[in-house]
């Protein structure tokens, strides 16, 4: 019990391995990470990456093959009861007790965790209000939508004031409105200082909610950092998108047959490629937005990303230097998806 009051990490994982009896490879293959107290930590990866197994080991439901995991100061291998007292779990699939009414699901959960009767009544009342379940607190869950069931599960997990809250793909299969609601709730919990471990295969979710993200694939952690730092790992960390229209007279005069070897578009392209820090320039077949833009070309610049401001200025300069008209210029940050493709060579959803 004393360990939890020390300012240690909320979770420490060292070379954690899980191989299922019938598995041919390790489902989790030697992962190590630490989650700070109060942090929202994301496990991002495709299905089968080992996220749920990792959470299973941290919540005592999966027995590790080797390695060590300490949750809220308690070793998951030796003290299941100690860990279970300190964690709350919102699982991937709805598992609410259908024999009970919503308010009872909450109060019984608290009773399992030894919360005194008076406190559990008060707390259930608060959470029911907070999660917008007042009107349905006396109902059973049979007719509840996925989003409402999810809210009940979040409320349930919070009933015993856990030190660490685990959310396993919480917004999977939720409608957009419920997803936004849950994101809002998760951020509110973080603001309140609850340590959260969240698994997801949704980049936007990880990006928006997490302080740090571990990108997982095939049971391993490929990268672990803040969302911003992770995105900077994409080679050519800054992306610039611009649209420019070449001088009208020349392009109109040129027929396909006697097109000069360097068209105005090519010259713009060449000028952009020569800018300092630029590693790659792609031509984009951007659809013209109106007649005026018929002759416009789109370009995407990849640069080392040290100073996006200078790049913006020099790219504009280069376009104007070729007597082209600059129609649009904006910074495009590489997404986590770009990083994932860079790290694994495959799409996150595939």
């Amino acid at each position: 019990m004393t360990a939890t009051t020390q300012p240690t990490a909320a979770i420490e994982v060292e070379r954690l391995v899980k191989r299922y009896p019938k598995g041919r490879t390790n489902a989790v293959d030697g992962v190590s990470f630490a989650v700070r107290r109060g942090e929202t930590f994301g496990l991002l990866g495709p299905n089968g990456a080992g996220k749920t197994t990792t959470i299973g080991m941290l919540t005592t439901m999966v027995v590790p093959t080797s390695g060590r995991a300490i949750v809220a100061g308690v070793d998951v291998a030796t003290d299941h009861i100690g860990v279970k007292q300190r964690i709350g779990v919102v699982p991937q699939r709805a598992n609410v007790d259908r024999s009970l009414r919503v308010s009872e699901i909450l109060t019984y959960h608290a009773a399992y965790h030894g919360v005194p009767r008076r406190d559990r009544m008060a707390r259930a009342g608060e959470l029911i209000e907070e999660l917008g379940l007042e009107k349905r607190s006396k109902e059973k869950l049979d007719l509840f939508s996925g989003g409402l069931q999810q809210r009940v599960m979040v409320a349930r997990a919070l009933m015993h004031e856990p030190d660490v809250l685990f959310l396993d793909e919480p917004t999977n299969n939720l409608d957009p409105q419920s997803r936004l609601f849950l994101w809002h709730r998760i951020r509110a919990l973080r603001d309140r200082g609850v340590t959260i471990v969240l698994s997801t295969h949704d980049m936007e979710e990880a990006d928006r909610l997490c302080d740090r993200i571990a990108i997982m694939d095939h049971g391993r952690i490929l990268a672990l950092d803040t969302p911003e730092a992770l995105k900077a790992l994409v080679p050519g960390g800054t992306m610039l998108e611009l649209r420019a229209r070449a001088p009208e007279g020349i392009t109109l005069a040129a027929t396909p047959e006697d097109m000069p070897s360097t068209s105005p578009d090519d010259r713009v392209l060449a000028a952009l490629k020569e800018l300092p820090g630029v590693t790659r320039v792609d031509r984009q077949d951007g659809r013209p937005h109106d007649h005026r833009e018929l002759q416009a070309s789109g370009y995407r610049l990849y640069a080392d990303g040290r100073d996006p401001g200078t790049l913006l200025a020099s790219a504009a300069q280069a376009v104007i230097g070729e007597q082209a008209e600059l129609l649009d210029l904006r910074l495009a940050r590489p997404s986590l998806e770009d990083l994932f493709i860079h790290l694994t060579g495959s799409n996150l959803r595939s």
Partner: protein, 280 residues
């Protein structure tokens, strides 16, 4: 209030020892089950008592009235019906409930994540299923009194033995239910019932006293391999009035020994299978 105050307060909520935490969790889980049972009591009784009711009516009342069986048959049938009820009700309830829960609803997860050993969650399920079976078994007596009328004859001087036999049989039924619910996928359960339960019931001396099987010796020996035989015979010696029927039966010591051994064996393997199923 600072965060550290909150943390300190939060920790005061927790029972100091693991044993204390586990005890409070177990009590809360029992009270949850009691609440749910109370709400479902009517459907529970209808489910478990429909079969005994019709059995008693047809075999105890109708067949003896038309002269197919002797009136004394209902006296030896009733203990078998009680054994059938207290054995099968918990077996079916627990195996179907658990099979469904472990296969898809996962409603049990919240209890598995409560601060108590997971085997205690299974043990609680066994005890509660047995208690519900016992309750259903208790209702068989007024039902039999109503259906059989003057043919209802039960000795009352062995009531302690009777309650003990009923308790032992219902816990055994629940423990076998635990084994079946954990080792078979829910989709196979109804098939398993046909393969396992039907022979178990018909070779379990529920509808005939074991002593009367002397004329079919091989079958009499076969029934000895069925724990239900011991439950039925134990129930008979506690229920059938001495003046009515005193044929050769199984010694009470053997009855208790075999039932206890079956219980230990099925409970131990059921808990082991359960643990393996919920902790991967």
């Amino acid at each position: 209030m600072t965060v550290s105050d909150l943390v300190a307060q939060r920790h005061e909520l927790r029972p100091r020892s693991h044993a204390g935490a586990a005890w409070r969790a177990a009590v809360a889980i029992v009270s949850r089950d009691v609440l749910v049972t109370r709400r479902e009591i009517a459907s529970l009784l209808v489910q478990t008592l429909a079969q005994p009711l019709f059995f008693l009516f047809i075999f105890g009342k109708v067949l003896s009235s038309v002269g197919t069986t002797s009136p004394r048959f209902s006296v030896v049938l009733l203990p078998g019906i009680v054994a059938f009820t207290v054995f099968l009700a918990p077996l079916q309830a627990l195996s179907i409930d658990l099979g469904r829960d472990l296969s898809f609803t996962r409603e049990i997860d919240d209890r598995l994540l409560a601060p108590l050993p997971v085997t205690l969650v299974a043990l609680e399920k066994v005890v509660l299923a047995a208690a519900r079976g016992l309750l259903a078994g208790g209702f068989v007596f007024p039902l039999a009194y109503w259906v059989l009328g003057s043919s209802y004859q039960v000795r009352t001087d062995e009531i302690g033995v009777l309650i003990g036999m009923m308790a032992l049989t219902s816990i055994l039924g629940a423990a076998i239910g635990l084994v079946m619910g954990t080792i078979f996928p829910i989709t196979h359960l109804s098939l398993i019932f046909s393969i396992v339960i039907t022979p178990l019931i018909f070779t379990g001396c529920l509808y005939y006293p074991w002593g009367s099987l002397g004329v079919i010796r091989w079958f009499q020996v076969l029934t000895l391999f069925n724990p239900l035989t011991y439950a039925s015979e134990g129930m008979r010696s506690a229920m059938v009035p001495v003046q009515n029927w005193t044929p050769e039966s199984l010694a009470m010591a053997w009855v208790v020994l075999v039932l206890c051994a079956s219980l230990v064996l099925s409970l131990a393997s059921g808990l082991k299978f359960f643990r393996a199923r919920v902790l991967s």
